[in-house]
Amino acid sequence: MNIPAAERRTVITGLGIIAPNGMGTDAFWKATREGVSVLDRITREGCDGYPLRVAGEVRAFDPGVMVEERFLVQTDRFSHFAMAAADLALQNAQLRTEEMPAHRVGVVTAAGSGGGEFGQRELQRLWGKGPSYVGPYQSIAWFYAASTGQISIRGGFKGPCGVVASDEAGGLDAFAHAARSIRNGADAVVVGATEAPLAPYSMVCQLGYPELSRSEDPERAYLPFTAEACGFVPAEGGAMLVVEEEAAARARGAPVRAVVLGHGATFTRSSRWDRSREGLARAIGAALERSGCAPNEIDVVFADALGTVEADRAEALALADVLGPRAARVPVTAPKAGFGRAYGGAAALDVAAAVLALEHGTVPPTPRVTDVCHDLDLVTCRPRGVELRTALVLSRGLMGSNAALVLRRPEGEI
């Protein structure tokens, strides 16, 4: 049933990036290409007293500039990121949505924790002052659907609207949802994920993740695929992209950046990273099959790179299982080592990075990583120029999901 739907293929036409290492495509790609690391001590208000010291903050983000002033009061930072990223993506795609039928433009976001900072403020009002001090915007700002709703309303998008409240892998699942909406008749979908988990109470909640890096040293806190791997560093931000039905995109002369070929998702239990080897391998297998793509066509892998030895080993073995002896020669990278894992936003940023890598024929490096202890061709230190046609993006979630997405560089006009 997958193939007849191929008549309505999904292509990426716009990138909107709000990342710790850069906002907007140019700044993000420059920093990513150069392997700049921006991991640093956490500076957000009230966040400095916890055994979680290092994160990727989006320090350049001024919400008062990026979104309308009223949203500062009315919604959470994760939605500010989402709205700003959606604006950037729509500009980038040069999509004139006001000229399109409203019900053919949809929105899908993944959300891992919702509007935690906003929620904490309202909890403080409730418990510090009383129930009547909780404001009306609490009902629309804390919940996981806030960003999809705000983007849809702000843009007038009445197409299929969805929210995957999943772990990291949900950031890739959102693209599968968007592709389904396109197959079922939407012309364009604004899709991606942004997160804002760096508020005091949200940080306290994350302390329970055993995979969290508690290192105080920004240079050593997140070193995936090395023997020193000590967990992942969280981040805020993410990416929203514009995807369109290919024929519609080409008809309007849109810049087709990449084709979303196929997606696969599996589940292998939380905290059982050994089992994620099979889960990830099967997710990749399913994504390749649905893409009509052979394993030897994969030119670059954007790894999940959780950053624990066990999880990294499982990922390396999964790639070996799928790619065979070629696994040791296919370039693998994890740009997020330079700016952290923004949960669902991390997967969306990897999709954006993969699109840019395909366009530039350049595999960006894995920042700060030098001594790789797994049998992988991990790109380190400097970018690698190489002919790229097909990219594989991987993501695993802390609650046990595994996902794979295959992207391909567009080939001329059809």
């Binding site: 919702g114 999809t148 109470y201």
Partner: protein, 422 residues
């Protein structure tokens, strides 16, 4: 060839009755489960009523460890899933776990425990830089909504796609809709699909107080949820879960199972209008209904019953009546349309799944559940709302609709041709 999607198992945790038999008894009796809030002391709140579940996790087979790890909404989902799987007759390990998925919805996830622990770590709201040393165990599981689908998947050894869906108050319909689409598209053969929420906590009650969306009829809680009635004054919050086993029809037949019914159409759209407000015309909900009917290849005049969102707010019931009339035309006046929220309250993300469960049972048993408390007609709501008393009817095509904060408008179409009554 189109793959068809059967419902082969149902499990429900609802206010007024845990388990399908108690739930069905209540719906057909037209009994209401709305009452004064007991889960916390509601003094000082505008709305002090809710439909609560009398839920004893241990009595439903959850171990103390499971209870400690899982939030109330996750416990609901586990118990409802147990019942649904049992009902379906699926044996763990008898089907391909990589072709089995989980799709569960929730609107507010673990907010109840998040609030509980917040009070401790903040010294009752005293400090912004809360004290992490006072946090309880497993707090990260309250923070992470994907726990819902993950916990149910672990319980049943599922290895296919596992997803938590959170589209506000359409989460339940959408979670079932996504599972339906995945089976139809041959991504899986079996799905455990549904939704759960346990939102009855001070912060959630307060946020609906702030927008005056909930009923302040604290003196008469049993009659406070009055969908479509002229004297309706807001929704009554509920909690609960419903889980369905969805199965590719031939897969079900191959193991000799006679399904309840089929899910045959689904659609969702945004209204791009307002985060909480609804239009008078209901164009986008109508579009969801039309698209779901097209998907199901069913004519609007064949709909035998509409399970309404019917939350009991002024705006919603008028919006929805307009939408159904727009899609069904004159046939709307001949079609019973009821809201079980009059009895079980509005459990936010869970209710869509509870309503699909109610539709499943209604089709299999040939009974339309009523709208309790419906007394005074509202001129803007002029359809047949099945006042107070359940009605026998042969139901072959049923529509369930929902609206959610954020502008979500969803519709699920269900069909039953023959099949055993259960």
């Amino acid at each position: 060839m189109t793959r068809r999607v059967a419902v082969t198992g149902v499990g429900v945790v609802a206010p007024g009755g845990v388990g399908v038999p108690a739930f069905w008894d209540m719906l057909t009796a037209g009994r209401t489960a709305t009452r004064g809030i007991t889960l916390f002391d509601p003094a000082g709140f505008r709305s002090r009523i809710a439909a609560e579940c009398d839920f004893d996790a241990a009595a439903f087979g959850l171990s103390p460890q499971e209870v400690a790890r899982a939030d109330r909404y996750v416990q609901f989902a586990m118990v409802a899933a147990d019942e649904a799987i049992r009902d379906s007759g699926l044996e763990p390990g008898a089907q391909d776990p990589w072709r089995t998925g989980v799709s569960l919805g929730t609107a507010v996830g673990g907010t109840t425990r998040l609030e509980h622990d917040y009070v401790r770590v903040s010294g009752e709201g005293e400090r912004w830089d809360v004290d992490h040393r006072r946090a309880g165990p497993f707090l990260e599981r309250a923070f992470t909504p994907s726990v819902l689908a993950s916990a149910v998947a672990e319980r049943f050894g599922v290895h296919g796609a596992v997803q938590t869906v959170s589209t506000g108050c359409t989460s339940g319909l959408d979670a079932i809709g996504y599972a339906f689409q995945a089976i139809e598209e041959d991504l899986a053969d079996v799905y455990i699909a549904g939704a759960s929420d346990s939102p009855i906590s001070p912060i959630t009650v307060a946020c609906f107080d702030a927008i005056r969306a909930t009923s302040p009829n604290n003196d008469d809680p049993e009659h406070a949820s009055r969908p479509f009635d002229a004297r309706r004054d807001g929704f009554v919050m509920g909690e609960g879960a419903a889980v369905l086993v969805l199965e590719e029809l031939e897969h079900a037949r191959a193991r000799g199972v006679d399904p309840y019914c089929e899910i045959s159409g689904f659609a969702t759209f945004g209204n791009a209008y307002h985060m909480t407000g609804l239009t008078r015309e209901g164009l986008e909900m109508s579009m969801a209904i039309d698209t779901a009917l097209d998907h199901a290849r069913i004519a609007s005049c064949d709909i035998d019953y509409v399970n309404a969102h019917g939350s009991g707010t002024k705006q919603n019931d008028r919006h929805e009546t307009a939408a159904v009339k727009r899609s069904l035309g004159e046939h709307a006046y001949r079609t019973p349309m009821s809201s079980i929220k009059s009895m079980v309250g509005h459990s936010l993300g869970a209710i869509g799944a509870i309503e699909v469960a109610a539709c499943t049972l209604a089709m299999a048993r040939g009974v339309v559940p009523p709208t309790a408390n419906y007394e005074d007609p509202d001129p803007e709501c002029d359809l047949d709302y099945v006042p107070k008393t359940a009605r026998e009817a042969r139901l072959r095509r049923v529509l369930s609709v929902g609206s959610g904060f954020g502008g979500f408008q969803s519709a699920v179409v269900m069909s039953r041709d023959g099949g055993r009554s259960r």
